[in-house]
């Protein structure tokens, strides 16, 4: 268990959080490497099915950010 790391699926809005994530990179800010980003055109695109599917596929967490 000690080396277990959570896997989190992040659904990021192309115009907002995805841009912030890019800027965090440009600014060389460091953060935990646990998220796997799926770029979506807008949080409006987010369907509850995506969250369920992610958890069903073994993700430990789901993060939706606009």
């Amino acid at each position: 268990m000690s080396d277990w790391e959570p896997k989190i699926v992040a659904f990021l809005c192309n115009w907002c959080s995805y841009g912030a994530a890019d800027l965090a990179g440009v600014s060389r800010l460091q953060y935990p490497p646990n998220i796997r980003v799926i770029r979506i055109p807008c949080t409006g695109r987010m369907s509850p099915k995506f969250a369920l599917s992610a958890l069903r596929n073994g993700a430990d967490g789901v993060w939706v950010s606009g």
Partner: protein, 58 residues
């Protein structure tokens, strides 16, 4: 909210699902939220419910 309730009903911890709003200029807020989400999920430990193998039974 509905989804959170549904998850709870399914036995999945509410804290596995996070929502936030970060503008494209808020790099620092972004990392704050990433860190927060990661820590929250880490605290819950591995997801045990509803993953595919068990879902087969259902």
């Amino acid at each position: 909210m509905l989804l959170s309730n549904l998850l709870e009903y399914m036995g999945i911890e509410r804290n596995r699902l996070h929502m936030s709003w970060v503008s494209s200029a808020e790099a620092t807020k972004f990392i704050d939220v990433v860190t927060e989400v990661t820590e929250a999920v880490r605290a819950l430990g591995p997801n045990k419910y509803f993953i595919k193998d068990q879902a087969k039974v259902a």
